[in-house]
Amino acid sequence: MEKVFIDSNVFIIHLRYQRDKNFEVNKKFLELVINGKIQGFTSIYNLLEIAGILSFNLNEKQIKEFFINFPKIFNVSIIFPENSTEETVCIDIEDTFSLILKKMSFLDAVILNIFEKSKIKTFITWNAKDFKEKTNKKVLTPEEFLKSLNKF
């Protein structure tokens, strides 16, 4: 089964931006993940970022529930950086800084770094243009990914 690393914007569009022009194709992609047709992964940084964006609209109890249930809700596995514990995550300063030198924002660099260190070959994001030139691995939008599967 194909494994993909999913960026925060895919989840955010589904949860918050139903009027976005890409909502339907985004939904089609996420349904494949939720139904186990493709194996979805994201990182603990992405999960914290998504919780942060939703924190404007959910109360503290709801955010906690959402955070701890996220892997089950979207049928995804969460990738933690090497050497991290349940309480702390580690950032590889050297690798992250080398991505920052390629003009990436801090969180983009941290996320790309954890993706590059994983065995997953494909990064799925609606910001594909921001990542394509920064990594040798495959970066696709959900639409491009579905086209590659002839599902769109």
Binding site: I44, L54, I68, K72, N75
Partner: protein, 92 residues
């Protein structure tokens, strides 16, 4: 049983006394209850993070419930690009 003393600002102390009057509990009991609740929640979060690290997908919340929670709220940002830009501190 060990005894601890603590400093507390007047505003918070006033709220503590109001809560004490409302619930009929002593100040110390309220503080102990809050501490127990915090410790329980922290333990719960640690448990779920351990499960996540092991690749387990536990819990009982579904997507429909989250969508329902969000359905009556307006996103803080008009477009998803703005939300992501906000969290990633992009300048361009």
């Amino acid at each position: 049983m060990p005894v601890i003393s603590m400093r507390i600002d007047e505003k918070l102390l006033k709220k503590l006394d109001e809560l004490s009057k409302k619930t009929g509990k002593k100040r110390s009991q309220i503080i102990k209850d809050i501490l127990r609740k915090e410790l329980k929640e922290e333990k719960e979060l640690t448990y779920y993070l351990e499960q996540m690290k092991k690749g387990k997908k536990t819990g009982n919340l579904d997507l429909e419930t989250v969508e329902k929670w969000l359905s009556n709220t307006k996103p803080e940002f008009e477009k998803w690009e703005e939300a992501i830009k906000y969290s990633r501190q992009r300048t361009k």
